[in-house]
């Protein structure tokens, strides 16, 4: 569907009420809770949907539990249905992450871990410089919507990512019941400052094809932006919902194929981007909890974001009715290399 599709222009999840991104609590999905390299014998604490997840290794094997290992008595919280009463979550390691199942543990199947085609599945050969943790002052779905949104970057991140000037800028998007894919094709855009100054791209203009593939349940965002002249900067941004107001993102900016020193410095751009985003996200998130809120207005540029809202609302409604299954059109493990536009 093209962004110019008028039918989608004002698509909103509900004709009467706006969405409240902090209230979306979708189940039966794998969350990449930590980098594998960060999980050692000493436990680390992570949180998903306000629920504690303690991660550690025993004999090299990763463990995930609702309680701190060794905790006793009152310190040991009562196991919930999320661990089937055992206190231990299903957990797997893949793509350099520890994935923890959030939902009914009986439904935890390894093949539901999303495919990330540009990362080594066993996690080896993923350099640490590609991994950066950032925190956002908003509910995960709001952060994801902001990532889907194309127009904010031209204002908020112009000094790093570049302005919105180009000869042509076409946006397309498609979706399944579990994913949304947005593709942006830009011709003759001005080269991003970061790529020009440290990325070795001396041209004044470049073309960009950027694909963003969003898994709805776990807010996993897989991006494949490819620049010509230039190179691809594939990246993963898993927006793990810490709670209704905060999210954590253990990013992997897989810049291994970019020239040095860009490949080392580019992942650190999040140190610049994150405060810029948070300056907006914090007040924005709070306003979605206001009583008597007024509905958001939209322009045609918001069509992918509004589709995202619709899809999230549908999924939430299904789960509300007790249906946690994956639809026939959804296969998180499907190979999306072609969809991302990866070159063979």
């Amino acid at each position: 569907m093209n962004i110019d599709d008028k039918a989608a222009r004002f698509a909103a999840p509900d004709p009467k009420h706006d969405w409240i991104p902090g209230n979306l609590d979708l189940r039966d999905t794998w969350f990449p809770m930590a980098y594998s390299a960060d999980v050692k014998a000493h436990p680390v604490r992570r949180i998903v949907h306000a629920q504690d997840v303690y991660l550690w290794r025993e004999g090299g094997r990763v463990r995930a539990a609702e309680f701190r290992p060794g905790a006793a008595g009152a310190m040991r919280s009562r196991p919930t249905a999320f661990t089937g009463g055992s206190g231990h979550y299903p957990a797997h390691e893949r793509y350099g992450y520890v994935w923890v199942w959030y939902g009914n543990p009986d439904h935890a199947h390894e093949e539901l871990i999303p495919r990330i085609p540009f990362l080594p599945a066993d996690g080896t050969r993923i350099p640490r410089y590609t991994q950066r943790s950032v925190r956002f002052d908003a509910a995960s779905p709001l952060s994801v919507e902001n990532l889907i949104d194309l127009t904010h970057a031209d204002f908020l991140h112009a000094n790093t990512i570049g302005d919105g000037q180009s000869e042509s800028d076409v946006v397309e998007f498609s979706s399944t019941s579990e994913t949304l894919t947005r593709t942006r094709i830009v011709t003759r855009k001005s080269v991003a400052p970061v790529m020009r100054w440290i990325g070795g791209v001396r041209a004044q203009y470049q073309d960009l094809r950027a694909v963003l593939h969003v898994h709805l349940r776990n807010n996993l965002c897989i991006s494949y932006p490819s620049f010509e002249p230039g190179y691809a900067i594939p990246n993963v941004q898993p927006f793990v919902p810490v709670g209704r107001h905060r999210s954590r993102v253990d990013q992997t900016n897989y810049t291994v194929h970019a020239p040095a020193p860009f490949r080392w410095l580019m992942p650190r751009i999040s140190y610049v981007i994150q405060p810029q985003d948070n300056s907006v996200l914090r007040p924005q998130n709070a306003r979605y909890f206001e009583a008597n809120q007024r509905r958001d207005l939209s322009s045609r540029f918001d069509a992918p974001g509004n589709r995202y809202r619709v899809l999230m609302a549908r999924l939430a409604q299904r789960q509300r009715e007790g249906d946690f299954s994956y639809g026939a059109d959804a296969d998180p493990a499907a190979d999306i290399s072609q969809l991302l536009g990866m070159k063979a």
């Binding site: 609590d25 009914n104 140190y271 789960q319 009715e321």
Partner: protein, 327 residues
């Protein structure tokens, strides 16, 4: 727990034998006094005779004497026990001032205010036990009581600090309800170390705040990464007049606090307080704090109701209920 009726109004050491103290308990003006036997009493700070405050009065063997005409009131019953210059054959009129039950525990003076029986109730001060050298204080801050409690969830760094520690705005999840308290953790780091608190992989410190749904006793704990306490601060808050809040606090550093960076250790060796309670609140900073976790306390957000529990789908018990705001 009936801390909604029992309120901490002062530190025990504030009230010496034979002395008085004016206090405000959840908006009520009180005259506290301690007799020579060390027993503390609380009377309404208003003489029923001509409405003069009793707190500037004198402590006598038979009660508190009004500084205006010398009427004396028994601390336990509030009954008038003496009116100067009455003839011996004249009866003392059945005048009385409101008297409030008083209890002392762990260095705090508690007053039972409002309706309800206090007997058998757990005193708010029971939640505090000193485990080291104590640092104490009192203040009246220019922030309403409800806002004070809210801010302790949304932006506690506006209300208290730990020298050598930077408390972040990243809180862990949402407040969890624990025995009448909302409990919330937020990340913290040692100040001046590393690339900045926003980008650490895992916070080496946590600030855990326990904010009551009823009453005003707040606990703030600085924890290490293993969630073991380094510093405990117990703050008793209560509504004062004109939109202000009374505070009385006690706190201490735990034995584990002997570690940490050099600056932190030197402060401990020098006997410096491991925490500070803000007395001059920065109104500009407060105004910038977005309401977030406090919405759980104040109910300002849309009401939450359970709509379906995971157990319905998972077929097991003990799950959290899914929540959704209902406009």
């Amino acid at each position: 727990m009936t801390s909604g009726q029992w309120w901490i109004v002062a530190l025990s050491e504030q009230l010496a034998p034979g002395k008085t103290l004016a206090a405000v308990c959840n908006g009520r003006q009180l005259a506290l006094f301690r007799n020579s036997a060390g027993e503390a009493f609380a009377l309404e700070d208003r003489c029923p005779h001509r409405r003069v405050p009793l707190s500037p009065g004198q402590v006598r063997y038979d009660g508190l004497q009004c500084p205006y005409h010398g009427w004396t009131f028994d601390g336990a019953s509030g009954r008038c026990t003496d009116i100067p210059n009455l003839r011996r054959d004249e009866k003392i009129p059945p005048a009385a001032v409101a008297a409030y039950p008083v209890a002392e525990l762990n260095g705090f003076i508690h007053v039972l205010a409002g309706e309800g029986e206090g007997e058998g109730a757990t005193l708010p001060g029971a939640a505090y036990r000193a485990g080291g050298r104590e640092y104490t204080g009192t203040a009246v801050v220019g922030l309403g009581f409800g806002h004070y409690l809210d801010l302790m969830l949304d932006g506690p760094q506006c209300l208290l600090g730990f020298p050598g520690v930077a408390v972040t705005d990243f809180f862990m999840g949402d407040p969890r309800l624990d025995d009448g308290y909302l409990v919330l953790d937020r990340g913290a780091v040692w100040a001046g170390k590393g690339i900045g608190p926003a980008f650490v992989r895992d916070h080496p410190l946590l600030l855990r705040t326990r904010v009551p749904l009823a009453g005003g006793n707040i606990t703030a704990e600085l924890l290490d990464a293993d969630e073991q306490p380094l510093v405990t601060v117990f703050i008793a808050a209560g509504a004062n007049l004109r939109g202000t809040t009374s505070l009385a606090w006690r706190g201490f550093a735990h034995a584990r606090a002997a570690g940490g960076p050099l600056g932190w250790r030197l402060r401990r060796l020098a006997g410096r307080a491991p925490f500070s309670v803000t007395q001059a609140i920065d109104a500009r900073a407060v105004a910038l704090v977005e309401a977030a976790p406090s919405r759980e306390r104040s109910g300002a957000a849309a009401r939450t109701i359970p709509i379906v529990s995971i157990s319905a789908a998972a077929g097991c018990n003990g799950a959290r209920a899914q929540q959704e705001n209902v406009p």
